[in-house]
Assembly symmetry: none
Homo-oligomer: 203 residues x 4
């Protein structure tokens, strides 16, 4: 496929640079100049590919989320049972590739911008809806119908809370600690499944 034209390459590079800058500088500190510099390009070219700073960072968020989604999808493909699928979602969200201080902080920064950027809000909404949908599907087989909502909220809230914590402090929580917490929750909330085993299986 000839889709990988130079323009697509550049967009990818710049998007990536933008995300990296976001991690160290925050939204206000993330200037187009810095993004250009990190990408080894000129300031002008950034606006050549993205109409505005806002758009650039919207694309950055969309992209970073796509990566996380792929991580989750990849793990879900391997899952065979509902509990496997549920755990795949959780593990995907705390995979070592994503659950890093820098990425959590970039995510936090973008979250703080959501109420002031409708487009960002839309993206955030889509992300959220997808995760809820995945969770509910897995949960139907595990908890009574009138409790799926409660558990879905519980899981998403815990995930967000743990990401927030790592976004706040580099030593906030480690991935194993986060997973342990999730397992702790599931063990008590959906007790018939041997969640503990899963955790111990982890290398």
């Amino acid at each position: 496929m000839g889709l990988t034209r130079i323009s697509e390459i550049r967009r990818r590079e710049l998007r990536h640079a933008a995300y990296e800058v976001l991690q160290t500088e925050g939204m206000a500190g993330a200037t187009i100049e810095k993004v250009a510099q990190k990408a080894g390009a000129s300031k002008g070219i950034v606006l050549h590919y993205f109409k505005s700073k806002q758009q650039l960072f919207e694309h950055a968020m969309r992209h970073s989320n796509a990566l996380l989604r792929d991580e989750v999808v990849r793990r879900m493909r391997l899952a065979r049972t509902p509990e496997d699928r549920l755990w795949a979602i959780i593990e995907g969200n705390f995979s070592t590739a994503f659950f890093t201080p820098a990425i959590c902080h970039a995510w936090l920064t973008l979250c703080a911008e959501v109420p002031r950027d409708p487009q960002l809000a839309r993206i955030q909404r889509v992300i959220h809806a997808r995760m809820r949908s995945n969770l509910r599907t897995a949960l139907t087989a595990l908890v009574p119908p009138d409790q799926t909502e409660n558990v879905t909220l519980g899981i998403t809230t815990l995930i967000d809370g743990l990401w927030l914590r790592l976004g706040l402090r580099s030593d906030g929580v480690s991935a194993p600690e986060a997973l342990a917490q999730m397992a702790d929750y599931l063990r008590h909330r959906i007790p018939q499944i041997p969640w503990q085993d899963r955790l111990e299986r982890r290398d």
Copy 2:
């Protein structure tokens, strides 16, 4: 004590104005000019009382947190049992005076700034430590020693996650929904206590 000098009054007003501006404008959009305007003062006077913009917002965070702390303390004073105290902490964090979209968003905004502002980080750390301390004290009587850490983390994470959710969307969660989720967690995690009753007692 005659501490309430005019200077103290001004500082209070400005701090409050800063917090209000933060709620609607976010960190990047919160200019000193807007704060001054909201306080009905001149731009110059703001920096007369606070050395810099950063300091102003640090004080704003400290202040807003003090309010939340007072809310919790007030409720804890009325509590008689460990479970009362535990629930007091939770209810304090979701009292209708604080658990509003604007406030949650301002809090989120400040959180996103934490990694770049050591002073803000320190404040955040103090806040967090106090809550953990309160929780642990209450929990010692409710769960085995080797589980207090787990439950403390679970509760704080859920609280943060719920605040985050309301900070992201005005219709993210309501206070009753948030409390219901907390009760759901406690009911399964510390089953010997009739948490449900507490929830139903609420007006």
Copy 3:
């Protein structure tokens, strides 16, 4: 003659697009990008045919003026008497094809640029000289020699003034009103000619 090579066609298209853009955007707002877009071409090709933005708009002015000149020439060819010729010049300048708000405004825009663009000034000078020459030729048979200068100035000034007016406001003057004003002037300035008849002949 095989002069109509593809290059000549492109130049014509671009020149025309430039003029159209000028009408809606003014000089400052008329970017090469917009011209290219209106011509359905790429930005690069515009500067391939015209060395610079300035040159492009100089050509646009030259072209637009050529159109107006052709209009006048066409009418003069049909004229048989000096007064016919004089009126042909005037009618040409207020023909419905040219005396439009957009065109008058584009013209005004270019006029405002004249003092800063020597080339534009030269073009303007040529245009002006030709009209004066035409007018003087026609006037020699209609007014005493020592008054041709006065009347020439009067007519050109009125024409410019009326163009300016339509350039300023879309509803500044209509073509009939403009022609009526010209006839009013001529009726009093060269009273022996029945100018009014001419006006009434108009459909």
Copy 4:
């Protein structure tokens, strides 16, 4: 009166500087930096007094027009007859203080901007209405009612046309030539008044 505060002084200076820059640079070339430099101030202070570049130049136009208006009013006060008043208006518009290449060019530049700046359009409209009103008042005693409109249009159009001409070329017309043209028009259009005498009276 204490109205001449420092702010008023600065505004005056900047407005004046803006107008001067406009004369040499045109609208597009008139940058805030140049205005600040000409006023011997910093770029920041310009935006401190005028919210935007547009506003600055709107004020400049308003101001420059006020000067012209005062010139006309001053002369009208001395006028005793309708023809005196009519001539006062005309002389005011060609007084040596205003009818200069630079000023006419600045005026032309602003005119070219009118269709794209509603505020500028409003100012322009007010100016125009005032002049028409003045003219009509004076003309009621000099021409039959059904002709005042025609003559008003003739005079304003000639004035505009002559300003345009000087705006286009430094040697376009001189003030005496312009006045001579106006007298030529009036002599033929309102023949009962000895306009020629007026012209000769000029020092």
